[in-house]
Amino acid sequence: MRYPFPVGKSDFIQGDEAIARAAILAGCRFYAGYPITPASEIFEAMALYMPLVDGVSIQMEDEIASIAAIIGASWAGAKAMTATSGPGFSLMQENLGYAVMTETPIVVVDVQRGGPSTGQPTLPAQGDIMQSIWGTHGDHMLIVLSPSTVQEAFDFTIRAFNLAEKYRTPVVLLTDAEIAHMRERVYIPKPEEIETIYRKLPQNEEEAKLPFGDPHGDGVPPMPIFGKGYRTYVTGLTHDEYGHPKTVDAEIHERLIKRIFRKILDHKDEIISREEFMLEDAEIAIVTTGIVSRSAVRAVKILREKGIKAGLLKLNTIWPFDFEYIEELAERVRKIYVPEMNLGQLYHLVKEGANGKAEVELIAKIGGEVHTPMEIVERVVG
């Protein structure tokens, strides 16, 4: 297979470009999108690459159509992705829920910008954390990943596809304008260096007849893609194991939704990824995600120089959230600080996890600038 960019070597590229290249290497062959700052470069790169790898890149009439098209593509057998920013992500929420309900593997990239509404198109923010987790209606479960470097934007994109395929679920790659537009050195592996997962397909008629059952006991049904003669009916309505609508049956609804939760929560340990920095003996913990993590690393070093035992917990997976881990952390430390580029979204999750075992303090910053290390240090020193 020939790739339209160099593989097996490093390149100096933007976060958006890294996401596009990673998607191609992960096997993505369908991209539908609608231009929006600061996510447009993902689309532009996909438009350039996709025809060369016999994939599809199409500019839809809006974001609603974009996510709809990738869901359709996924049922026709493709690994599919769309990318947008906050306002577009809001429009996608209806069909994001549809993807959850129909257990369709897709990857949705949300490059956050200042909001609400059209807000600050060109400036970074972390205001979509709650939207990515709870934006669509009803009880639902999905996976949200958050990179903090351009290399991570690349690596997490591949992981997003693998998780989507493995668990038949939409995965949100939640990044921000700072990473999207920053250029950094990124290692682009050869295809044989990366692990790529493709969804479980039905092995026999029996399995194909249960597109929403649980034949393997892991909560993840094999996905009978269209055109293989299985005659699968897919609906966003509450449905039984066969896919038949059963909208007023409480038991069937509960069984379906709880399995959608279970297939992800039972594999939490595999899905959740985090990094710790100087946290072993820490008395002060800083919990971050995304771009702010990088200021926090420096802040921890400065605090250590000042004799304060600080440590950092960087969350690579935002959802599912490891509440138990945060509680354990809260038992070990005196205080937890949560610097984030919004008025307190991750803070609520951390506070709930801490469960009163340690004080949790928000270091909020909005307006379009990343926290400087000193801003974090000053709050900790007091």
Partner: protein, 281 residues
């Protein structure tokens, strides 16, 4: 045309475990479904190579009753989903079963853009001037003066003429019939299914329970008689003045052309891209 018995069609194409349908007595969706299945049968199309897509509403429940791959999506979005299916696997033939609200209101933008792209899909559109499943609210196709639960004093807005909208947007094939134009309907669907690009067959369909009841037409026969009164064949309409056509709906074949479909255009685009990059001669 030799007509097979309805039992044969039912047994071959419907999911027996999903019957009975949810449709009310006198509803026209069953008739249109039968026309579509007869067209498929007559053409001898492969059941495993057809995908039915739909949005929300009564007409959108059809893919659940037929034994094909089917995607029952969100309100108005059927054609956007179809775009992904078709471009991923061009071997699949796509039938979109849609309602008037689906196509002309919430999905209006997807509708015109799917036509502009000439997406290879056959749209079977049930137009009954109302939101039947939701309880008889007024649809954007409702003629002035028609009543719905959200226009209790009679519709005051102008209606959309879906077929003409599709012609202007560039559809390859557009026809409109009422459900009692049995043969014309089946023939139009057959023609639509054989063509490349976007094809649309619109049916004026009775909805006695949600629509007729509120407009002094409580039964299907009353609605059918009313459709007979308000419809005018295309040839006749050409000789009529604008005043004479006021409140009338023209039926017939509105467009039949052969512009290249989206799939073919995209395949050409791939070739062009590889050539421009020097990957291929």
């Amino acid at each position: 045309m030799y007509l097979k018995s309805a039992y044969e069609i039912r047994d071959k194409y419907l999911r027996k475990d999903m019957l009975p349908t949810i449709f009310c007595p006198g509803c026209g969706i069953g008739s249109v479904l039968q026309f579509t299945l007869r067209a498929i049968d007559d053409l001898g199309l492969n059941q495993d190579e057809i995908v039915w897509v739909s949005g929300i509403g009564c007409s959108s429940r059809v893919p659940g009753f037929v034994n094909f791959d089917g995607l029952h999506t969100t309100h108005g979005r059927a054609l956007a989903f179809a775009t992904g299916i078709k471009l991923t696997n061009p071997d699949l033939k796509i039938i979109a079963f849609m309602g008037d609200g689906d196509a002309a209101a919430i999905g209006g933008n997807h509708f015109i853009h799917a036509i502009r792209r000439n997406l290879d899909v056959t749209v079977i559109l049930i137009n009954n001037f109302t939101y039947g499943m939701t309880g008889g609210q007024v649809a954007p196709t409702a003629l002035k003066g028609l009543r719905g639960t959200t226009a209790p004093y009679g519709q005051f807005e102008n209606p959309f003429d879906i077929a003409n909208l599709a012609v202007s947007a560039g559809a390859n094939y557009v026809a409109r019939w009422t459900v009692f134009n049995y043969l014309q309907g089946i023939n139009s669907i057959k023609k639509a299914l054989q063509k490349e690009g976007f094809t649309l067959v619109e049916f004026l369909s009775p909805c006695p329970i949600s629509f007729g009841r509120r407009n002094r037409m409580k039964t299907a026969p009353e609605l059918i008689r009313w459709y007979q009164k308000i419809t005018v064949p295309l040839a006749k309409a050409k000789k009529m003045s604008e005043e004479e056509l006021e409140g009338k709906i023209v039926i017939g074949e509105f467009a039949d052309r052969d512009r290249p479909g989206l799939v073919r255009e995209y395949q050409e685009y791939i070739k062009r891209a590889k050539k421009m990059m020097g990957w291929e001669q």
